[in-house]
């Protein structure tokens, strides 16, 4: 069944990463386009309309001119689902993702943002120590690899918040913290976007889950009905705050709220918020065990 050699597979993953990084930056998914169009239908404020119409125009200009939707090429983040039978080890998958990121940055060329966190010196072509950042999932009884690239801009990533609520704060505490965070963020993370919320687990895992949440297609609901209800509630409440498009006031403050959860310790109630701007870029590929690649923009 598997005909590709390990080197070929490494090359396939590298090719996929190089393609996905640029593609994600240029061509935003259909679900996001639809969500932005719906937002424009709903918005009643003059400034909010001005912002949303400009965003919609910008998405079309990027497509026509083959330019980037936004200038911030972000930090490269990949989400990998690796089948247990995929013939390339994750250590090699990581190398290939790194090489692909670097190649895309040089060839396009893309603005390079990655710096050493203390010296602030540029470390190369959007790669560095532990960059790109990769989230892993391992899937039994499968021999494929799914790669999703989500370049994350700094304007929205800077609006990340963590609170160790106590169990007595309950769901109300979770809601209050999300509301406060989004009001504090105001126009800085380029609203309206996707609010990713991670609850439960531990401090670090809650933020990890919040980040997973923003990578979902806009408006998808959590499988757990209790969590899905929290998503709906938060969406309604956040849009009551009036922060509006680009924080200039209006009806649409967020396009969607996505919550991911994990069970936690009986004395823990962590809540993490990770904001994703309106330019919620993502693009996916499926790499088969024989090295063939299928691209999918809207996964």
């Amino acid at each position: 069944m598997t005909t590709a050699t390990i080197t070929d597979l490494g090359q396939a993953v590298e090719d996929a990463a190089a393609h996905l990084y640029v593609w994600a930056l240029q061509d935003i998914p259909q679900d996001l386009r639809d969500a932005l169009a719906r937002a424009a239908e709903k918005e009643t404020s003059v400034t909010g309309q001005r912002v949303l119409q400009t965003i919609l125009r910008n998405v079309n200009v990027a497509e026509d001119q083959k330019n980037l939707v936004c200038q911030d090429t972000g930090i490269a983040v990949y989400y990998c689902r690796v089948g247990e039978g995929f013939p390339l080890h994750p250590a090699r998958i990581y190398e290939a993702l790194k090489a692909g990121t670097e190649r895309a940055t040089v060839e396009h060329p893309l603005r390079s943002n990655t710096v050493h966190t203390l010296t602030r010196e540029n470390t190369g072509q959007n790669v560095g120590y532990r960059v790109p950042i990769v989230h892993w999932d391992f899937i039994p009884d499968w021999d494929g690899l799914d790669v999703k690239c989500v370049p994350k801009g700094s304007g929205s990533e800077n609006m990340s918040f963590l609170k160790m609520c106590v169990p007595a704060d309950g769901v109300t505490g979770i809601k209050k913290f999300v509301l406060e965070s989004i009001v504090d963020a105001g126009g800085k993370p380029c609203p309206p976007g996707i609010v990713g919320v991670g609850i439960g687990g531990s401090a670090d895992y809650a933020m990890h889950l919040a980040k997973e949440a923003i990578a979902r297609p806009v408006g998808t609901r959590n499988e757990d009905p209790l969590v899905a209800e929290l998503e709906e509630d938060l969406y309604e409440l956040l849009n009551e705050t009036g922060i509006g498009p680009m924080g200039l006031g209006g009806d649409v403050t967020v396009l969607s709220v996505h919550v991911e959860h994990a069970d936690t310790h009986m004395t823990l109630n962590p809540v993490a918020v990770n904001y994703q701007c309106w330019a919620a870029r993502r693009a996916s590929a499926h790499v088969a065990a024989d090295g063939s690649i299928e691209y999918e923009r809207d996964a």
Binding site: N58, Q65, N67, Q71, G155, V183, G186, G187, G249
Partner: protein, 195 residues
């Protein structure tokens, strides 16, 4: 809310004073790109900027460009960065250099309101992230200084129909950001009472 067209640099302060928070503005003429390191050099390291900033429109940007030759660049993708980090430079930009407009995304905190009123300056909100469109409105990169700070140099762009921008803070003490925050805080009290 009115719509205006303003050509920069401005020589007549009436051009700034006519603008009110919430108004729509389209800009023509020349604008100057500036960012964190550029302003740190001017004000913290006290190096005189080699460009005339009187009446200027400053844009918070680190443009993506392609080098054509010595001192010559072509645009690739030019967008705008978050302004709040650079608010402390507002007062000296106005009082020492006569800057009249600062444009960025996300707004300035309330500490910018007083100096902008006193010095006759405005803050323009651009649509953050809409870089593909913004790039088409920049006709040419006419000049660049301090190339060693790449991409945080001093850039001079010639623009056409740059916008639409929204007056976020005007020269009369009004700020959309302050108003929106005040309303949102009140709303939160409402919401909390219901939770």
């Amino acid at each position: 809310m009115a719509t205006h067209e303003v050509t920069f640099p401005v020589t007549d302060s009436a051009e700034i004073l006519k603008l009110r928070a919430g108004d729509e503005v389209v800009v023509q003429g020349h604008i100057i790109g500036i960012r964190d390191r550029t302003q740190i050099r001017i004000f913290d390291q006290m190096v005189e900027p080699p460009m005339d900033l009187r009446g200027a429109f400053l844009l918070h940007t680190a443009p993506g460009v392609r080098k054509l030759g010595p001192g010559r660049y072509e645009k690739v993708c030019i967008g705008t960065t978050t302004s709040a980090r650079m608010v402390r430079f507002t007062e000296p930009l106005g009082s020492q250099y006569g800057v009249r407009a600062i444009c960025g995304k996300g707004g300035f905190p309330d500490e910018a309101i007083e100096p902008m009123q006193r010095l006759g300056m405005v803050y323009f909100a651009i649509v953050g992230g809409a870089a593909a469109l913004e790039t088409t409105q920049i006709e040419e990169i006419e000049e660049v200084a301090w190339e060693e700070l790449m991409p945080e140099c001093l850039w001079k762009f010639r623009v056409k129909d740059f916008g639409p921008l929204t007056v976020g803070i005007d020269a009369h003490g009004n700020s959309l950001y302050r108003d929106v925050q005040e309303r949102a805080r009140k709303k939160l009290e409402d919401i909390y009472a219901r939770l």
